[in-house]
């Protein structure tokens, strides 16, 4: 669920072993399979669709339908240190829109930051509505967020994970 800065390469046999366990133990396993793959590989790579379809005994169209429906599921590797700002009402009430605009400007001015944190994909509510604006930095919840605290968090994460070259490989 939380992102990590380094994910293993896609390996179909290994993936099949993960998925067989999911399918064996659960009813209605398609979404669970896609979530399990994303947990391991950081995203759901294209060859996964046929594999999940076969193991779950559904069509590839069904799997693609599920993959495209859910905002969490991604078909591309995540940025090294994803930053996501809450775009919902409670955070709007404490300057969430202004923070999002300021953060985007900061990323435009700092190419390295933009590359590390990715395009801001807004998220609707993190359940931190009394301490907004809320944000997620590499899966960690930040309350009363400002551009400065977000930057500091990104820097700390970058140092902890040893650079910014993970993720997209």
């Amino acid at each position: 669920m939380t992102s990590r800065s380094a994910y293993p390469q896609w390996n179909e046999q290994e993936a099949q072993a993960y998925l067989e366990a999911v399918v064996r133990e659960h009813d209605g396993p398609v979404l669970l399979c896609l979530q399990a793959l994303q947990e391991v590989y950081g995203h759901v790579p294209p060859p996964a669709v046929a594999l999940v379809a076969t193991l779950c005994n559904v069509s590839r169209a069904d799997v693609t339908g599920v993959l495209s429906f859910y905002a969490d599921l991604r078909t591309e590797p995540p940025p090294a240190i994803p930053v996501r700002l809450c775009a919902a009402e409670a955070c709007q009430a404490v300057g969430g829109r202004a923070l999002a605009a300021a953060w985007q400007q900061t990323c435009r001015d700092d190419q390295q930051l933009a590359q590390d944190t990715g395009v801001d994909e807004p998220i609707f509510c993190l359940g931190n509505c009394a301490l907004g604006p809320a944000a997620l930095v590499d899966g960690q919840l930040v309350g009363r967020a400002t551009v400065a605290t977000l930057r500091a968090r990104v820097t700390r994460t970058r140092e902890a994970t040893g650079g910014s070259d993970g993720g997209a490989k």
Binding site: M1, T2, H26, D27, G28, P29, V30, L31, L32, C33, L34, Q35, C56, D62, G65, V66, F69, Y70, A71, D72, L73, C86, A88, E89, A90, C91, Q92, A93, V94, I123, F124, C125, L126, G127, N128, C129, A130, L131, G132, A134, G139, L141, V142, G143, R144
Partner: protein, 510 residues
Amino acid sequence: MTVWFVPKDAAAKSVGADEVAAALLARGDEVVRTGSRGLLWLEPLVESAEDRQGSRIGWANVTVDDIAAGLLDERHSAYLGDVAAMEFLTRQQRWIYERVGIIDPVDPADYERHGGLQGLRAALERSPAEVLDAVKESGLRGRGGAGFPAGIKWQTVADQAPEPLRGQSARSSRHKYICVNADEGDSGTFADRMLMEGDPFSLLEGMAIAAYAVGADRGMIYLRSEYPDAWETLGTAVRVAREQGWLGQSILGSDFGFDVEVRLGAGSYVCGEETAMLESLEGRRGMVRAKPPLPAIKGLFGVPTVINNVLTIASVPAIMARGADAYAALGSERSRGTQVFQLAGNIARGGIVEMAFGVSARELVEDFGGGTLSGRPLKAVQLGGPLGAYLPADHLDVPMAYEALAEVGAMLGHGGLVVFDDSVDMAEQARFAMAFCAEESCGKCTPCRIGAVRGVEVIDRLRGGDDAEAQTLLLRDLCDVMKQGSLCAMGGLTPNPVLSALDHFAEDFR
């Protein structure tokens, strides 16, 4: 030796509780990680006691520097004294939130010491029919938003025979499900999250009682993926509960068996709608199902299913332990018992207030909440999430109860109050409501899927001053179509914030 209590709640962690706990541990002190008491503006709120059972004194907004400087004494400016004696807490009536912030959430001994399992024990001493009667007598209604009487829903499921899962043969094992909706997607709500992080056993206990009452053998919790801390805590709680014999083949040594699985959502708001949730739990796109059949008759995997919100289910142990009469004695008209209100947005003292129904929005926002955080005049309160109406400042005396709110065209939803100061542009908020619906619509019905997109366009034209009168008429007509013609509450209630903004704040649209 002094024991420190530091919340492990996600909100407390978001403002530094982990760092504070680490600093205390580094001194060699004993630290117990609890949930949060719900005084969120004071987080990280650190408490200490002589021992784990002792009364606790607290400090607000503690930082690592405070600890390094040895500041945690009575002279510190953030010293709170006896936390349990604070007016914000003593004025509340805590039933569901009785233990949250006090106990170690996954310590079974702590749970029992503070009254846990009394409800389940009381239920198992009675017949399932008697438990159903007690839930009916308590007047408990669904806390997810719709307010349907829980006892009647449970009775419907109890009246069904167990069924084989969809796609399995008639000779297969037969089941009924208790399904908890923990897809708390409404902005301004966090009571489910804080309960699951602060007292997860009470949810599992409530599910077991529900299962016993209706004859279900399987439980499922659908948790939104935005709550990683709750996911971890629930996972631990389920494992511990099995070890303790609170879940599994023979619960508390009886011949009643029930077990629980937790599944994660994947970032879709509409999956909080109960039939979309069922589709999602079955692994498909979260597309709303037409009703009938009701989920109580054909629910998860096609078997009879109780679907309740976290707070509904978590109310049940306290009702069984403290008595349906005592619960029903609280509240007003057909709104019985307590509601967990969540004060959010631009508010000085945000957090959890559990009170009997009937308290006014003004008491919550002003007395408890202390008005806006910015100190500017309050302009509007959005009640009940993204699908709830905006109440203007002079409408806040309305009592928080299903009937009274319905009269003024508002709804309680999941009990969240989001406060806005006078810097808000209500036309922008109306536009956001439509844009959010367009983004999150499952796409099954046209009024929601297309209506929301057209809604954004009409509001843009209206704000642009392009024949305002005609556009206003068009917007109202569109809202009417969405309200009357949508398959579920997503499209059906999106007009609430839009029309309330238009009705009460027409000047913002010019």
